[in-house]
Each structure stands twice: as C-alpha cells, then as structure tokens.
Subunit: 128 residues, 2 copies
DNA sequence: CGAGTATAGCGAAAGGCTTCGCTACTGCAA
DNA sequence: TTGCAGTAGCGAAGCCTTTCGCTATACTCG
C-alpha cells in the first residue's frame, strides 16, 4: 500500500470520495447505486475502484461487517485543502490572493456571504 | 482537431501552458529549455507534447516563422477560471464562498492584499 | 556545393486509470 | 443439500498520457 496522500485522487476516485463524504460508512452497493446513476458503469468496476483506492490509502473499510463498510480515509476538508493548494501553486503561481479575487469576481455571492468574508478579513488583520 | 476547451489540460500540458503564458510567442527550443530543466525530458518529448496540444487546440503556432513560434490558445485567466470552476463544483459542491473562506484561512496573505479584497467586496455590494 | 547542426514529425513503447468478464465465496431459503 | 442471490477479487483489455528513437527536412557556414 502506498503512503497515504502520496497522490491526488483521480476523477473517478474523487467521485467516490464525494459519495463517501456524504453517506459513509456504507457498503459497495450503495456507492455503486450513486455511481452508476451518474456514469452507468458496472458493479465490478465500483468494487475494483474501491480496491484500488484501498490500496492507495484513500479509503478504509470494516471487514468485520457483511457487507464490508467503506469510509473515506481523508476528510473533505483535507482533500479540499490539497486541491486548493495545488491549484494555487500550478495556476496562480502561489498567489492565494489572485485565486480569491478571481473566485469572488465570478459573482454568485450573497450579501451575507460578503459579510462573512469581511469578518474573516478583520480577524486576520487582528492577528498580524 | 478537437473543439477548443473540450478537455482540461493534463499535468504536462499545464506546465507547458504556464511557460507559454510567461514567454510567448516562443520556439520549441525555449519551451524545452524550461521544461527539461524541471523534468529532464528529451527534446522529442517537448515537440510531441506541443503537437498533441496543437491537435487539441490548446496552443497555436506560426508556421511562417522558422523555427515555428508557439502561443497558448487560452489565456491564463480563462484557464484559471475553468480550473476554479471545476474545483468549486467537484470539491466544494458549487459553493464559491466555501472555497474563498478556506483559501483565506490558509494564511499567507498580506495587509495590502486584505485591503484589496475589501475593496472588491465593497464594489460587489454596491452592484447588488 | 556539402557536412554538420537545428528543427519537425511519426510510430510505438511504457505506464496509469478505468472498465469489465469470469470466478469464488457466503448465507439463506426451499 | 442444493440452488440462488449478494458479495468480493483478479487479471486483462482499452484508452489516454507521456516518453523517446528514428527519420526526414531545412538551414548555416566553410
């Protein structure tokens, strides 16, 4: 088994993680139900992907239970942080701010949310 | 040739795009110089990658010039927007704000930058 | 002109991700 | 006990990305 977190989850892996974050712990059948709904893939495929992910340390499972129950090995928060870091690094050349500005200017943000950001900014400034 | 933007740039493709964004238009040799510095790959590899990217519509080139001069077919801004949109969609379930809050709370942001965000927030509020 | 160097391109190999077919095991019901 | 349905696993195929060797073409300088 590779070291945990040594690699970013791939596309399908991420889909599975998202399902787990929402309904873990859960058996293959449930994961497959959601996955096949979106992609129409075979049950074997889901089982295999989970075995691959288990191998990579992206998920864990309880083998005592029948059927086995799967869980994500990284929290949504941690995964998000990794993705974000990579995005900032690779596309925004390490500037968190460039990304924030672009994200904000994409619109779709409510007044309450704007206030929330202000509050965060105030806190940050206080600590500097 | 596939339709422009039909697929996200892959890892190496993104590296090449970043080089182009910085120094376009430029010949293969220059791109290769930068790429091999980071990865130690062969000149042929760079040529091939560019031909693949040309095929995908990720880059354009001026064949009149000798050697041919390459340019990125998408701006850094557009690529960033696409990546960001995907990240928000896939990891933050569509909430731009979750992403912004997480990005900001990762630290590494100067006072000037904080002020810059405030200004943007004010503008946004004015328009609502 | 002719040799040597720079440029361009192609096809195939290597490796990773995703998919599935086939097999095996388990547990329950007739 | 036998058969069926649900569960688990493996190996290989197919596809895409990345890599390079080999070949061909163009250009430069002596």
């Amino acid at each position: 088994m590779r070291e945990l977190g040594s690699s970013q989850p791939t596309a399908v892996e991420l889909e599975i993680l998202r399902i787990l974050w929402e309904m873990e712990p859960c058996p293959v059948r449930d994961i497959h139900a959601r996955l096949s709904e979106a992609k129409g893939t075979n049950y074997s495929t889901t089982v295999k992907m989970l075995s691959v992910m288990l191998n990579k340390g992206l998920v864990t499972r309880n083998e005592q239970a029948t059927p086995h129950l799967y869980r994500a090995a990284i929290t949504r928060h941690k995964a998000a942080k990794k993705f974000l870091g990579e995005l900032v690094e690779k596309v925004y050349d390490g500037s968190v701010m460039s990304l924030v500005l672009q994200a904000l200017s994409s619109g779709k943000v409510s007044k309450d949310e704007i206030d929330e950001v202000r509050k965060l900014l105030d806190e940050m400034e206080g600590k500097q």
